[in-house]
């Protein structure tokens, strides 16, 4: 029965795929103290890869290119810490006040609603709803976020390790990759390289595209918020870009912070709320008409239905992180299983 099942190329491919997933999960578990800096460094390496190639094409050695790019990263990080970070922290504190103000406003509205409903003989359990509102607020606790011990430990690990790992990844990644893939048996060596190249080409293209896409979105919306006089335009723009990495829910989530600010500071100013929606719409139009056709198109060839299903399933299993990882994980699974089926069919 088992041997008959293993004769099918699909079951063999799936078996190898799940073995790979298990091994990667075990590896991630072992590496968990350095998983975040490692993931950030890999992301930076992928984003900087075209620039590395450009430098090497112009006669630089890989070591020189990696030293230069790591130095550039450090300088950018220092500028970010000195100029943008304090601004973001003060913006976050302001947003926290806005959320608290909004929560009190909602409590007042709740009392009005209760009186209105009582006229019709309906009784609302306002105490429960109010309790729910106050327990949810403030949603962003800046004190915890910025002064918590864990946060500082994680941040310092990231700050120390990321430039270090990134330097070695840029310099030595090809030889590290060769050493790892050379551990495979002779029979599967070429197939493994083929699948590796197909998966990484798609994933790297997707990640670079996503980075460019969200940077453009953040810049367009931050400019819009700034031009129309919204408070904390950099933070609001950054949040639009950050939420944008969540497929389908991104636009709605990106609208949430500016809407909260408008509702808490000027609840009667509907025009400002319309402006917030307009800014998000313009940012997404720039994305759909300029960025997607030039940067993203053809990078990930997945059916829209498969994308929606993947986002729902991964979201359900792993929350927001799962939603972000849904597309790259589905693309990888599709390419690995497809590649294994083709390769194993011939063997």
């Amino acid at each position: 029965m088992v041997s008959k099942l293993l004769e099918s190329k699909l079951s063999r491919a799936l078996l190898i795929f799940f073995a790979m997933v298990l091994s990667l999960t075990a590896l991630a578990f072992l590496l968990r103290p350095v998983l975040i800096p490692l993931a950030i460094s890999l992301l930076i390496y992928v984003i900087l890869k075209p620039l590395t190639f450009k430098l090497v094409r112009n006669g630089w050695s890989r070591a020189q290119a990696s030293a230069f790019l790591t130095l550039l990263l450090l300088i950018l990080f220092i500028i970010w810490s000195a100029i943008i970070l304090p601004e973001l922290i003060s913006n976050l504190a302001g947003l926290k006040d806005d959320i608290q103000r909004l929560s009190s406003l909602l409590a007042v509205m709740l009392v009005d609603a209760q009186q209105w409903f009582e006229k019709w003989g309906v009784r609302l359990d306002t105490q429960k709803i109010e309790q729910l509102l106050t327990s949810q607020s403030p949603a962003i606790n800046t004190d915890q976020l910025l002064q918590g011990g864990n946060y500082l430990v994680t941040m310092s690990t990231v700050v120390v390790l990321v430039p270090f790992i990134t330097f070695f990844l840029i310099r030595d990644f090809p030889s590290l990759r060769s050493r790892v893939l050379n551990l495979l048996p002779n029979r599967y060596f070429e197939l493994a390289w083929l699948i590796y190249f197909r998966v990484t080409r798609q994933l790297q293209g997707y990640l670079r595209g996503l980075f460019i896409q969200q940077t453009v979105m953040a810049m367009v919306s931050a400019t819009g918020f700034w031009l129309l006089g919204f408070p904390a335009p950099i933070l609001l723009g950054a949040l639009v870009g950050l939420f944008g990495i969540i497929p389908y829910l991104g636009p709605a989530l990106g609208l949430l912070p500016p809407a909260l600010i408008v509702l808490s500071e000027q609840p009667d100013n509907y025009i400002l709320l319309v402006y917030a929606v307009l800014i998000i719409v313009v940012a997404y139009m720039v994305d759909n008409f300029i960025v997607v056709p030039t940067v993203i198109a053809q990078v990930v060839a997945l059916h829209p239905l498969l994308v929606i299903l993947a986002v729902i399933i991964f979201g359900n299993l792993f929350g927001v992180v799962g939603m972000v990882l849904a597309i790259p994980a589905t693309v990888s699974a599709k390419l690995i299983v497809g590649g294994l089926m083709n390769g194993l069919a011939a063997k």
């Binding site: 002779n186 060596f189 390289w193």
Partner: protein, 160 residues
């Protein structure tokens, strides 16, 4: 004075790499390239050991690279007919450098052998990093394939 153990360890590897470079440079695939170009390609070359009788690849397998026989002997055959007997310095499988098609023959290690693979994705990577070298290599691949085609045509004419 340096330790003979360490000197030997490093010099052996280095001299083997230099031999591989010399062997590649002697093939028509690397015509027009110099040792410096070849040395830059070495980190991407995959060296593998095969035991006598081991299948290197089978007809229909997905292939992605050209293979250089660094040492030992390799038998190329199709439909149980021996097509070629290759030894050190020879290369095979260059069709896989150009397209995604399956391998057209079987390759079997006739004796214990060491092979060096140069893979298609590395050629593509080379196009981004060193377009001139990649262009020369691509031209050489085209010339090699053209020569093989001409020889096959001559054989077909002789048989016909």
């Amino acid at each position: 004075m340096s330790s003979p153990l360490w000197t030997n360890l490093f010099s052996r590897r280095e001299s083997q790499n230099e031999t591989i470079i010399s062997q590649w440079l002697a093939t028509p695939l690397f015509f027009g390239l110099n040792r410096k170009h070849c040395r830059a390609l070495m980190p991407n070359m995959q060296r593998r050991h095969y035991q006598k009788g081991e299948t290197i690849f089978k007809e229909g397998d997905t292939g992605i690279g050209v293979v250089l026989v660094f040492s030992g002997e390799v038998l190329i055959c199709a439909n149980n007919v021996e097509l070629a007997n290759l030894s050190n310095g020879d290369f095979f499988g260059e069709v896989a450098l150009v397209n995604d098609e399956p391998r057209t023959a079987d390759a079997i290690a006739k004796s214990d052998c060491d092979l060096v693979f140069f893979l298609r994705p590395h050629l593509y990577e080379l196009m981004s990093v060193s377009p001139k070298i990649a262009a020369q290599l691509t031209l050489n691949i085209a010339k090699t394939l053209a020569t093989r085609l001409r020889k096959t045509n001559q054989l077909a004419q002789q048989d016909g």
